[in-house]
Symmetry: C2
Amino acid sequence: MSLIQALNWRYAAKRMNGQKVPQDKINNILEATRLSPSSMGLQPYTILLVEDEELRKQIQKVANNQPQILEASHLLIFAAWDNITPAQIEEYINHTAEVRNADPATLEGFKGALLGIAQKNTQEQNFQWAARQAYIAFGTAIAAAATEQVDATPMEGFNASALDELLNLKEKGLRSVTLLPLGYRDTANDWLASQKKVRRQKDKLIVQLA
Amino acid sequence: MSLIQALNWRYAAKRMNGQKVPQDKINNILEATRLSPSSMGLQPYTILLVEDEELRKQIQKVANNQPQILEASHLLIFAAWDNITPAQIEEYINHTAEVRNADPATLEGFKGALLGIAQKNTQEQNFQWAARQAYIAFGTAIAAAATEQVDATPMEGFNASALDELLNLKEKGLRSVTLLPLGYRDTANDWLASQKKVRRQKDKLIVQLA
């Protein structure tokens, strides 16, 4: 199945049937997400994985009681770093040197550029930048789920500060930005399952300038 | 080639070789991007396509002279709506009714929810929200290019206000957020082509809570 076919197959399931997603499919979705690009390669976010039903019940309460959170098999929470710190940049540079078997000294210019961006920005700007990177990964995760024929419902409709408090994300330097329940559509009970996909027409969405 | 294989194959080419990308591959990348999900399905962004070399030369000047902009085959510019207006919401609702062959009256609740969000937010907040949706599409475009074995270099490093002025985007209610040159890597001249991909380790990026 091509990516286009997978994206046509998928939709934001409003109801899921509780069936478990096999671990290998979860692993594939997570691995594709891990491979997502990000600005300067920093990946300034953490992806929280929740399978436990009790915890999902608590999360559902701060997410407008959306049924998919409990009817899903797994729940992903995309949480962006609430700031970009010199320690995080240092860790990234050291990891890069290790993976590429390089002298960290050769990465000083790159490190300086990263530090420059992070220090020029306010904490809130750094968070907003991190959040945008998390959205790239979020897009990749949705596409990856579709290629695995796993339903995924992208969600912004939740109380982020309540969720951050529930999961002690502030202490971890994180702020939740999106949710992604993974599971299987409940075709019989989901009004949206039979509806045609609505997307902006090609000639409106894409404009050739020259 | 699986999505994971495609994502492992891709990287942010620093040099491209000028070879043209066949139109069917461009169309596939754009179609996958068009199918990207967005909050409430609104797709509050426009994707500008530039093939013309003269225009790309001008764009390159406000994009730190990055060579890929000219060495690419095509350039995509992701531009988010600079606000969410009642007219845009109206158009979306009417389009939805048309595609689904539904009475627009049945969509009044949905329309009210959209209007409520757009009017509660400031223009800047609406833009930031639109920009995040554009990043989902950006992530999809990058993944789609990889599955087509087309190189794509995600770029945030450009002067967005200068680009908006060059392309008269303000008049169109748009603000540029990212660039994506599409083309083919110039392996001989790209120092990054031979480097190992660096990604955060699975156990650091992904944390199972319960």
